[in-house]
Symmetry: C2
């Protein structure tokens, strides 16, 4: 079965956590909206009469259409060896991914504190305040939590001795924060040595390495979740 | 088995979606942090060596400790007749609950646009701007989506002919918006007649009615997610 991934074609965004999982698994998939007429196809799916997704990303798997990043990873994880086999293990992993979801929304809020439908340029002062709070309070809380889980597990992977999709998400968070806030992140990384090491090991995996070197990996840019604005990194 | 629910004792907050599901199901549970020494017990659980929750709410079900509201509902739903029986149906329902999760975070952002660790009093101007955008863009988008799902299903329940936990969440969203923004909500309700009717039918269910009339239902207040600030409702 060839999966169909639907997501905005110009950004990594929330779709990237799914792309990383599909790539690591070596799954057969097509990134629909990046192909010819792909955006029209995506918009049409959102007008479906049954189970219309609220927003991209969503994944078509046979007859099933799944929305919400963490929900899609929950589905893919157990089918592609990227999740534990037990129900308890899968729910724990999903819980962690939902915490990543919360964090990603807070990342987005750093440049859009006054709302997602206004331009960054119209909320620069508020963005600076929100970003200061994000780095003083939220980044230490979220990444400190995952660093502690990694430590408690002996430092190999977040949930144990085998790689799961949460490790791929940790890679993406470290990469994204490095892109958006290079100066702030440089100072912070000494507090999360385990996550930085995990990031390196994920990047070195054959399938992930090949993906990162391909044009399937979209470059970070200022339309995505992780945006580099000099004023926010000062 | 008696469930143990752990959540901040003075607010409805994110715990309320779980309380509503437990009450509708007539499940045996204890709201731990509201009892003697409950807060200490909750804090101790968060320092656990295995599967420590990132934040309340979390639910202890036998040996299992589950965090993240939507994850807890996913677990409870299939065990208490509040979710469809098929995998596709359960994932669809979960996807909808995750969309509620996103909306709830945006509700919180209306009074805390500059970050969750600052006081509302220190971000009143930004809160006003965020709230205006919330009502002009976000409420119509989110509630319009659920209203449409309800219509497409014939108007009885969001996912079909049987009540699920998403219907309880719809009740809570309507109640919360009425509390926090009575003036704005009054003007908006004519756009979501189906959800308003669903709210009434949920409130009239025997178990929910008994719960709402009991002291187990905490009153809305200005420490929760839905907060009534006159300036934001103008």
């Amino acid at each position: 079965m060839r999966y169909e991934l639907y997501y905005w074609p110009g950004i990594q965004g929330r779709g990237e956590y799914i792309r990383l999982a599909l790539e690591e698994a070596g799954a057969d998939y097509v990134d629909v909206a990046r192909g010819a007429h792909g955006m029209a196809a995506m918009m049409k799916m959102m007008e479906a009469e049954t189970t219309p997704p609220f927003a991209p990303p969503f994944l078509k798997a046979g007859k099933l259409v799944l929305g919400q990043t963490a929900n899609i990873l929950f589905y893919l994880g157990s089918r592609h060896g990227l999740a534990p086999k037990t129900e308890a293990g899968r729910l724990w992993l999903h819980q962690l991914q939902l915490t990543v979801t919360d964090f990603v929304l807070e990342v987005h809020d750093t440049h859009h504190p006054l709302g997602p439908s206004l331009y960054y340029e119209d909320q620069k002062a508020a963005a600076k305040k929100r970003t200061d709070e994000f780095w003083s309070e939220r980044v230490p809380k979220y990444l400190g939590y995952f660093e502690r889980l990694l430590e408690d597990n002996g430092g190999k992977y977040v949930t144990g001795r085998r790689l799961t999709y949460i490790d791929l998400s940790m890679f993406q968070l470290v990469e994204g924060l490095r892109y958006a806030f290079p100066r702030r992140m440089k100072g912070f990384e000494r507090k999360i040595p385990g996550l930085v090491d995990l990031r390196d090991r994920v990047a070195a995996r054959p399938n992930i390495g090949a993906y990162l070197a391909s044009d399937r990996r979209i470059a970070f840019n200022e339309d995505g979740i992780f945006r580099h604005y000099k004023a926010l990194d000062a």
